[in-house]
């Protein structure tokens, strides 16, 4: 069994999809010759040819709009946008056309496509390169939004996204591309719309996704060392949200903290807490807290640490919830 990083797992999943499925086409800026900014598509052009691994002109709206046309005619495009912060020029295509094609044609025309975008900060990148605005996409009816935090899920969710009959926004945590390794028994598909309880515990539930899983896992370890049993839920699917799994965990532990890198206001933490109120308010023994990015622009490298939720902030919130 191979031990792979998220980046390698994604590369293998794309390679396998191109091999197994004749109608898959990988496209984006600089994804062919250079293998993409993060080298996720490295080697694919050589193996599958420039007809199936296509370097496009530099135009995000164009990529997604043309990709929708391809999907409507029977090709399955897997598009890469270089950074989430560069997805906004394509936002109009995504919200005005991609997400609603099935509804406005009552199933006659569908958009089976995947839009991949690296997201999040923590690598000291330039302005616009550290965005975590997943709530924008999760808010749009007709889209599925998934975020892996480990290599197995990255490969499995990507395969499921490619085979899904509806459009999927696939977010890739930049910070974890090469820092998490895992043995991959095979590149099995992971169902979209499912959260994963990745660590079992009894005292409190820590709820996170994507890049924040790193600090969340560390927090659970620290808590364990001081005798506190934290359950960790990797939300993994932001739309649709698997509230059943999340609420079941919170019902069991009675306490919860939601951790996300995205801005606080109208972030998915607010949605999750609202749904916990609907599903398991009477099981709660303390108010649920959020640890989030702030409602500020993501600061550049020298001050970025003030923005991203740290292990210390997560532990402080956890302690407050446990003590209240």
């Amino acid at each position: 069994m191979a031990t792979l990083t998220i980046a390698q797992a994604l590369n293998q999943a794309l390679d396998a999809a191109l091999t197994d499925l004749d109608d898959v086409l990988v496209m984006g800026e600089d994804i062919g010759r250079t293998g993409g900014v993060f080298r996720i598509t490295d080697g694919l052009r050589d193996r599958h040819g420039p007809q199936r691994v296509v370097d496009t002109p530099l135009a995000e709206s164009g990529i997604v709009g043309v990709g929708l046309g391809l999907a409507l005619a029977g090709i399955r495009p897997v598009m890469e946008l270089q950074f989430m912060g560069f997805s906004y020029p394509a936002f109009d295509q995504i919200i005005s056309h991609v997400s609603r094609m099935r509804h406005r044609s009552r199933h006659r025309f569908t958009a089976p496509l995947v839009i991949r975008m690296p997201y999040g900060g923590g690598i000291g990148a330039a302005e616009h390169h550290s965005e975590s605005t997943e709530a924008l996409y999760a808010h749009i009816p007709g889209l599925k939004v998934v975020v892996p935090s480990r290599p197995g899920d990255a490969a499995g969710l990507l395969r499921a996204a490619i085979e899904d009959p509806d459009p999927v926004i696939f977010l890739e945590p930049i910070r974890l591309y090469r820092s998490v390794k895992e043995e991959l028994p095979d590149l099995a598909s992971v169902p979209l719309g499912s959260a994963a309880v990745e660590r079992h515990g009894t005292d409190i539930t820590l709820i996170a996704w994507g890049a924040m899983m790193k600090e969340t896992r560390e927090a659970a370890e620290k808590l364990a060392a001081s005798g506190i049993s934290a359950e960790v839920v990797d939300v993994r699917s932001l739309a649709p949200l698997d509230i059943t799994t999340i609420a079941a965990s919170v019902s069991k532990t009675g306490r919860a903290v939601v951790i996300h890198e995205a801005p606080r206001t109208a972030g998915l933490g607010a949605e999750i807490i609202a749904q916990l109120q609907e599903h398991c308010a009477y099981d709660l023994e303390a108010p649920v807290k959020r640890v989030t990015g702030w409602d500020t622009v993501v600061p550049l490298k020298m001050s970025e640490q003030h923005y991203t939720p740290s292990l210390e902030r997560i532990l402080a919130a956890t302690t407050e919830v446990l003590e209240s």
């Binding site: 086409l25 007809q51 496009t56 002109p57 135009a59 709206s61 164009g62 997604v64 709009g65 043309v66 990709g67 929708l68 046309g69 391809l70 999907a71 409507l72 005619a73 029977g74 090709i75 495009p77 020029p89 109009d92 295509q93 005005s96 056309h97 099935r102 509804h103 406005r104 044609s105 009552r106 199933h107 006659r108 025309f109 569908t110 009816p141 007709g142 599925k144 899904d164 009959p165 509806d166 719309g193 649709p240 949200l241 509230i243 059943t244």
Partner: protein, 340 residues
């Protein structure tokens, strides 16, 4: 500017179809006008919602759409009902959309026409993708897309033209330049002398045609479709025409343009010039005209009746076309919506 039939109905170039087919084109144009005037009336009666009239643009729509084969794709905007039904879109569905149901966006599987796009300019990219997909799949199917002069100011117009050029997509871009983007005149839309000239920047031919001359429109589009079908890439056609009515039934064109301008364009009417030509050739009579109008009226009435039989969705059915399979979260909301 390519012109084959002058406003006075004189042939000044090669007629692209025989006389019988020319008469058929005339019949289609009379029908289109009958439909359009009916559309305005239906809106006034409250039987359909906002309507976007296209009187004056019949030649641009019929002369382009008639050049397609059934397997070709059409990506329309909201002002092209004639082009849509010429390509097989059931008329009652065109009207159903105006009545306010998404059922109108769902033609039979054999009809390759996307639901009309309301955002101006963003749909052209879809035509490029469709045309490119056909080439990847080894067919010679082409895609035609319609838009107005206003849409050429949108960024997506430029991205679509650029992608089409780079990928040699078999896409025919048809700009129905009707002079006005709601209240903004063409001269304030772009500083370019013509819209067709923009094609140069994207490495494709740009053709300016008299959009009120159905022969010229048909000839130019046939050439563009043939070029696309042969794998030689896209073409931009600017059909210079005029919208005789308002942008939609919600605006008053008297606020932004003069009666003189309207009268000037009335002289260049696409129907009248073909009528004059056919009459000179002995192929038009007042009796035939009356018959066309009578039959056209009945045809529209039938479509209206069919459209009015389409029932609105229930609260629950609104959810049903969101995804191939509804996730639990939507099933829950669906149940809540149905309870009310």
């Amino acid at each position: 500017m390519l012109q084959i039939l002058t406003p006075r109905g004189e042939l000044v170039g090669d007629r692209p179809v025989d006389l019988d087919d020319a008469a058929d084109l005339y019949g289609e144009m009379v029908f289109a006008r009958t439909y359009d005037r009916k559309g305005v009336a239906l809106q006034k009666q409250g039987r359909i919602a906002t309507y976007a009239p296209f009187e004056g643009q019949e030649a641009a729509q019929i002369g382009t759409a008639i050049t397609l084969e059934p397997g070709d794709w059409m990506v329309p905007s909201y002002r092209e009902p004639a082009a849509m039904w010429m390509h097989g879109y059931p008329m009652e569905l065109v009207l159903a959309t105006r009545r306010g149901t998404e059922m109108g966006g769902s033609p039979p599987a054999s009809v390759r026409v996307l639901p009309p796009s309301i955002p101006v300019g963003s749909h052209m990219l879809h035509a490029v993708g469709l045309a490119w997909a056909e080439r990847l799949q080894g067919t010679d199917r082409v895609a035609i897309t319609y838009f107005g002069d206003g849409a050429t100011s949108e960024g997506d117009f430029h991205e679509a033209m650029n992608f089409a050029g780079v990928f040699k997509a078999g896409c025919v871009f048809v700009c129905q330049n009707n002079g006005w983007a709601i209240s903004l005149p063409r001269a304030e839309q772009t500083a370019a002398e013509t819209i067709a000239a923009k094609a140069v920047g994207y490495g494709m031919p740009g053709v300016l045609v008299d959009g009120n001359d159905v022969f010229a429109v048909l000839a130019a589009t046939s050439a563009a479709v043939a070029r696309a079908r042969a794998g030689e890439g896209p073409t931009l056609i600017e059909a210079l025409t005029y919208r005789m009515g308002p942008h939609s039934t919600t605006d008053d064109p008297k606020r932004y343009r003069t009666d003189d301008e309207l009268a000037e364009w009335r002289e260049r009417d696409p129907l009248e010039r073909l009528r004059r030509y056919l009459e000179a050739e002995g192929s038009w009579t007042p009796e035939w005209q009356a018959e066309l109008e009578r039959e056209g009226s009945a045809r529209v009435e039938r479509a209206v009746e069919l459209a009015e039989q389409i029932q609105p969705f229930t609260a629950g059915e609104t959810f049903d076309a969101m995804f191939a399979e509804l996730p639990d979260s939507l099933l829950g909301q669906r149940a809540m919506a149905e309870e009310l």
